[in-house]
C-alpha cells in the first residue's frame, strides 16, 4: 500500500451526495455509498454519517469538465477520482459510466466508491494487484472483500478497530455457551435445557454444514439447526433457522462462509448472503446472477483450504468458482467428483472444519479428505464413518466403518 501523506484528524466523518447519477434510484445509491464507507469502518474506528450542509466528504456524479480541471472522459477510461484529505476528500464519479449494483453488467458502483473513499481517507494507489486500492477496475466481484494490503494501509493511518459495530452479530449479549443472543430483543432468555437433542442420532442425514465467521459450526436440516461442539451437539438445540437468520428459508442445499466473513446459503436457484445473522442486502438472488456458471439445486459447497477457492458439488460433478477471475468458472468445468480421490457422488454436504480437514457427508456417513494428499484419509477405522457417532455424539451409533444409507 502507499500513503499519500495526509489523513483526517477526526474519526467521525460526515458525507453527502450532492449530485446523483441518472439511471439509479437515489435510495439504492445511498445504500451502496454507505456500504462502500463501511468497507473502511469495518477495520478502523472511522464512522461515516450522511448529513446535509457542511460535510467532510462531498460526493458528486459529473460528466466531462466539472470544475476541478480534471474532466471525465465518457464511458470507460477514467471512472472516478477523489481527493486526499489535505485537498478536501471529495469524490467525483463519471456520470457517463453505466453504474450498476450487484450486477456483472456496467461498472459496479460499490467497488469503485470503496476504492475512491480509500483516496478520500489518504490512501494512494497500491501496486498489489488484488488490493482494492490497485488503480484498475477488475469487474464486479460478488464476494468482494478488502485485501490484507488495504487493511494494513488504512490501519497505518487510523489504527485498528477497537469499537464493535452496532447493531451487529458481535454485539449481541452472550449466553451461557458463549453464543449470540438468539431470543427476541428485550426478552430475557431462558436457560438452555441440559439434555442433548437425540433427533440427529435417529436420522443423521442433514442438509448442510458450515462454519460461521465467529468459528461456530452449524448443521442445518429442514427448518431447524444445531450448533456443534468439539465432540457433539451443543445443549439447547435444535432451533429454528428463520428465528436466527431472519428471511432465510429451510431445506437449504449448501452453505459456506467466505474469507470476507459473510455466509452464503443456496437453495434451488437462489442464494442468500448474511453477515452474522443479518441479511446483507436484498436477498434471495438468483445463483445464475451472483455465481455465474454454477448450477441450481446444488448438493454441497465449500471453500477449499488448498487454494481458498469455492467448490460446488452436484451429482457426479463439481465446479470451481474463483471470484477474482473472469469468467469465475473456467470452461474446463464441471469435472468429475472422482477427481477427489475417495469422495462419493451425490453428496449431502461438505465443509472445512476448524481443524483444517475437509469433510464430505453422504447419507448417514462422512469422509475426511486430506488436502495435502488430495485423497480421503487412510485411517483406522477407515472412512466412511458414522456421522451420528463421530459428529453428533450418539453413543449408540457404530464407531467403525459403515456403508452409506444409499
Amino acid at each position: 500500500y502507499a500513503l499519500q501523506g495526509s489523513r483526517w484528524k477526526v474519526k467521525d466523518l460526515t458525507y453527502k451526495i450532492s449530485k446523483y447519477p441518472g439511471k439509479l434510484k437515489r435510495g439504492d445509491v445511498d445504500k451502496e455509498i454507505q456500504r462502500a464507507f463501511n468497507v473502511w469502518s469495518g477495520y478502523t474506528d472511522l464512522t461515516f454519517t450522511p448529513k446535509s450542509g457542511q460535510v467532510h466528504i462531498e460526493i458528486r456524479f459529473e460528466t466531462g469538465e466539472h470544475g476541478d480541471g480534471d474532466p471525465f472522459d465518457g464511458p470507460g477510461g477514467t471512472l472516478a477520482h477523489a481527493y486526499f484529505p489535505v485537498f478536501g476528500g471529495d469524490a467525483h464519479f463519471d456520470a457517463s459510466e453505466s453504474w450498476s449494483i450487484n450486477s456483472y453488467r456496467g461498472t459496479n458502483l460499490f467497488q469503485v466508491a470503496a476504492h475512491e473513499f480509500g483516496h478520500s481517507l489518504g490512501l494512494s494507489h497500491s501496486d498489489v494487484r488484488q488490493a482494492l486500492m490497485a488503480p484498475f477496475y477488475r469487474g464486479y466481484d460478488p464476494l468482494f472483500s478488502l485485501d490484507t494490503d488495504d487493511v494494513e494501509g488504512i490501519q497505518a493511518l487510523y489504527g485498528k478497530k477497537t469499537k464493535k459495530d452496532t447493531p451487529s452479530f458481535d454485539d449481541d449479549n452472550d449466553d451461557q455457551d458463549g453464543e449470540f443472543d438468539e431470543s427476541p430483543s428485550n426478552e430475557k432468555k431462558t436457560p438452555a435445557p441440559p439434555s442433548v437433542d437425540q433427533s440427529l442420532c435417529a436420522d443423521p442425514k442433514f442438509d448442510t454444514i458450515f462454519n460461521s465467521a465467529e468459528g461456530y459450526t452449524y448443521v442445518f436440516k429442514g427448518d431447524k439447526y444445531w450448533r456443534l461442539t468439539e465432540e457433539s451437539i451443543a445443549p439447547g438445540y435444535p432451533k429454528k433457522i428463520s428465528e436466527t437468520w431472519p428471511g432465510l428459508e429451510g431445506n437449504i442445499d449448501a452453505a459456506f462462509t467466505y474469507k470476507n466473513g459473510k455466509t452464503y446459503f443456496f437453495k434451488g436457484s437462489k442464494y442468500w448472503r448474511y453477515k452474522g445473522r443479518k441479511m446483507d442486502g436484498d436477498y434471495p438472488k438468483e445463483i445464475s446472477e451472483g455465481f455465474t456458471g454454477i448450477p441450481d439445486n446444488l448438493d454441497a459447497a465449500l471453500v477449499w483450504s488448498g487454494n481458498g477457492k469455492i467448490y460446488f458439488y452436484k451429482g457426479s460433478k463439481f465446479w470451481r468458482f474463483d471470484p477474482s477471475q473472469r469468467p469465475p468458472v473456467k470452461s474446463t468445468y464441471p469435472k468429475p467428483i472422482s477427481n477427489w480421490d475417495g469422495v462419493p457422488d451425490n453428496l449431502n454436504a461438505a465443509f472445512q472444519w476448524t481443524n483444517g480437514y475437509t469433510y464430505f457427508y453422504k447419507g448417514n456417513a462422512y469422509y475426511r479428505f486430506n488436502d495435502r494428499a488430495f485423497a480421503v484419509d487412510v485411517t483406522n477405522p477407515p472412512f466412511p464413518r458414522s456421522t451420528a457417532y463421530w459428529w453428533f455424539g450418539c453413543k449408540s451409533a457404530p464407531a467403525g466403518t459403515i456403508g452409506t444409507s444409499d
Binding site: 469503485v112 483516496h119 494507489h125 501496486d127
Partner: protein, 81 residues
C-alpha cells in the same frame, strides 16, 4: 511519434509517471526518461517490465481505472530549497 506513442505519453503524464510539464512538451522528453516512465508503469501494473510500448502495455493502458495519479507525493516537481 506513432499515435500509440502520443496517447501513451498523455497517459503516463496523466497518471504521474511523467511530470506534467514534460507531458506537455513531448519533444523535450529524452528517450531514457520515457523508457523509465514506461517501466515504472509496467512495474506498477504488474505486467512484464520491457520498457517498450508492447501490446500488453498498450492494452493495460485502455483498462477502465481510477483517475487519481499512481505516483503522488514523490517530490519530483518540488523546487529544491
Amino acid at each position: 511519434s506513432a499515435p500509440s506513442d502520443s496517447s501513451a505519453l498523455i497517459y503516463l503524464s496523466q497518471y504521474g509517471y511523467i511530470s506534467a510539464s514534460r507531458g506537455n512538451s513531448s519533444q523535450l522528453l529524452d528517450e531514457r526518461s520515457y523508457k523509465k516512465a514506461i517501466e515504472d508503469f509496467q512495474s506498477f501494473a504488474g505486467i512484464d517490465v520491457t520498457g517498450q510500448l508492447d501490446p500488453v502495455t498498450l492494452e493495460t493502458m485502455t483498462l477502465p481505472r481510477c483517475g487519481v495519479k499512481d505516483k503522488v507525493g514523490t517530490g519530483d516537481n518540488r523546487a529544491k530549497r
